[in-house]
């Protein structure tokens, strides 16, 4: 398996929407490379005949009763928002200039 380069960490951090300082990037690249090398040993026993398990309980299609319940109080929710206006969350520009 490949080792984790500084450029690769920068690319993945961008995918995860986390700004990193150059110093953080240097340190994380070194640490993550060691961790990735260590955890890669899972492939030693993960042969094609072994099925994957994603969850400890074999559950499918669990539904609760289809009954209306009270939603969270809107004002209480919006009081915790970084910004709100007219009963809605106020967020920064989402679309590009051309939109």
């Amino acid at each position: 398996m490949s080792t984790l380069s500084r450029d690769e960490v920068a690319r993945v951090a961008a995918l995860a929407r986390i700004d990193l300082t150059p110093g953080e990037l240097d340190r994380l690249a070194g640490e993550l490379d060691v961790i990735v090398e260590s955890v890669a040993r899972v492939s030693e026993v993960a042969t094609p005949d072994v099925p994957a398990t994603s969850h400890p309980l074999p559950l499918t299609n669990v539904f609760r009763a289809d009954e209306p319940v009270a939603p969270l109080d809107r004002d209480e929710v919006l009081a915790q928002a970084p910004a709100a206006q007219d009963g809605k969350f106020l967020v920064p520009q989402i679309l590009g200039e051309e939109a």
Binding site: V12, Q80, Q93
Partner: protein, 512 residues
């Protein structure tokens, strides 16, 4: 050390089971008990820092209400009036909840977790929210965004993690009961290094609704206490089916208290106790192994049959866990983006778009360990690497479940040391993530398979620090933990002439 049981003991040093009895008999009031704990918190918090928020007014109001209702002859829950501390990863309506992260600083949830609803409905005063590694990522509570917690046994040492605050609060007599959450050992490992009891129930036994999710297929809330009986009482209160958690088991949370009573009153004849060969030996402190052998001898003397079992894939559990957990966490933590709650940071230069605000907010709001794991998880799930990393880890999970299934055909419970070492010094492993991860080597397999586990104190190592004994049971057989745990606890405490915790140095506190 002064004796700390019986009629002379201060209210803070009584087991919850005894507080429950005395409250029920109206020998003491909940206001007295709650105030005694708030006083203790005020006295020792400058040294311990187990709490991120203390809710004195709310706790006393609940206590007064319970006293009034009990005085009026109302039938109340047995634990009504017994105070409790709640890990800060559990949302509490009206009480600040941060999960130990700066990104949630000042957030006050608009709803209660199901287990908090149960605590409130039963009338347990909530003393406050306990410190933890940020978003439960860590084994020392040093990754908290609000400063570390100190181990009451030695203030220069870690209290374990991620639930170091809950364990330390229990060990320092700041609370008789606390809630923890365990994704890879965050209830059991702190219990081990603080000389307290911690239980990770079967996955699905306690509702996850209102837990700030770390890894949804691994997370499970459970009790942190000073005795096995107290853990059983608390587990029965918080467990049971919840329609708001699709992974909640339909089993009723009953029989734990009865099992603990049975463990004390009867012997262990017919009980097969399996020693997991892979969870001892290299990397385990000699003092930890010596206490483990002594506990096996005690169980044998009580009539249990000790057998050795092998779980060969447990040696891959740590590697699988550090792929599965970061993968799930990278998804779960995507919601902390500065849009709807918590911190919002605008980029210092360039256009203020939602995407750039998200990256700036997460860059500033998350600590090092959280960034490390989110990036690791994103990498493990990314195109070209998914099969090699996340896919392989999921196969290891199958192999570990098969190991458990085979072992539980030979034994009714499995046992091991809870953690390879006693509490290490603050700062000792902070710069070496892999060394920190190794603390969880014995606790992680249970989370991967969803089986229940308990840690209880089984002595002091050569360094004078507490050691934990882990018991694991098959899924939905949590009662076995309480039976074997209570039996071993009674045998050990007979030898020690009282609880191990009584040997901890007395915290003098700021005002004592």
């Amino acid at each position: 050390m002064s004796a700390a049981t019986g009629a002379d003991s201060p209210l803070t040093h009584m087991p919850a089971s005894e507080l429950s009895q005395r409250l029920g008999a109206r020998e003491i009031s909940s206001v007295e008990v709650t105030q005694a704990h708030l006083d203790r918190i005020a006295a020792v918090e400058p040294q311990v820092h187990a709490f991120l928020h203390v809710s004195a007014d709310e706790a006393l109001a609940t206590a007064a209400d319970v006293d009034a209702r009990r005085g009026a002859g109302e039938e109340l829950h047995p634990l009504a009036g017994v105070p409790i501390a709640v890990k800060d990863v559990v949302v509490t309506r009206g009480l600040p909840t941060t999960a130990g992260s700066r990104i949630l600083e000042g957030w006050v949830p608009p709803y209660d977790a199901t287990l908090v609803e149960k605590i409130k409905a039963a009338g347990l005063p909530i003393l406050g929210k306990t410190n933890m590694d940020e978003f439960a990522m860590g084994s020392s509570t040093e990754h908290s965004g609000y400063g570390n917690t100190h181990n009451p046994w030695d203030l220069d040492r870690i209290p374990g993690g991620s639930g170091g605050g809950s364990a330390a609060a229990i060990a320092a007599y700041e609370a008789p009961l606390a809630i923890g959450t365990d994704t890879g050992g965050s209830i059991r490992q702190p219990a081990a290094v603080t000389g307290t009891v911690g239980v990770k129930p079967t996955y699905g036994s306690v509702s996850r609704y209102g837990l700030i999710a770390l890894a949804s297929s691994l997370d499970q809330a459970g009790p942190c206490t000073r005795s096995v009986m107290d853990a059983a009482l608390l587990h029965e209160l918080i467990g049971g089916h919840d329609p708001r958690d699709a992974t909640s088991l339909t089993d009723p949370a009953t029989g734990y208290v009865a099992a603990a009573k049975e463990g004390v009153s009867s012997d262990l004849r017919g009980m097969r106790v399996g020693v997991v060969r892979e969870l001892q030996g290299e990397g385990y402190q000699p003092g930890v192994l010596a206490r483990f052998e002594e506990s096996l001898e005690a169980l044998r003397n009580a009539g249990a049959e000790i057998v050795e079992v092998s779980c060969p894939h447990f040696t891959y559990a740590l590697a699988a866990y550090y792929l599965i957990l970061p993968a799930e966490a990278s998804s779960n933590l995507a919601k902390f983006d500065g849009m709807r709650f918590g911190l919002r940071v605008e980029p210092s230069e360039g256009p203020v778009t939602a995407e750039r605000v998200m990256a700036a907010t997460r860059g500033q709001g998350f600590g090092d360990e959280v960034k490390r794991r989110i990036i690791l998880g994103t990498y493990a799930l990314s195109a070209g690497y998914y099969d090699a990393y996340y896919g392989s880890a999921q196969k290891v999970r199958t192999l570990i479940q098969r190991d458990f299934a085979a072992a539980f055909e030979q034994a009714d419970v499995l046992v091991s040391p809870t953690a390879p070492t006693t509490a290490f010094k603050l700062g000792e492993k902070l710069d070496d993530p892999l060394a920190m991860y190794l603390n969880d080597v014995a606790t992680i397999p249970a989370n991967l398979a969803g089986v229940p586990g308990m840690s209880l104190p089984n002595g002091l190592s050569d360094d004078g620090l507490p050691v934990g004994f882990q018991i694991l049971a098959p899924a939905r057989q949590d009662a076995r933990l309480y039976k074997v745990g209570a039996a071993l606890e009674a045998l050990l405490e007979f030898g020690w002439e009282g609880p191990l915790l009584r040997r901890a140095p007395e915290l003098t506190g700021g005002v004592a």
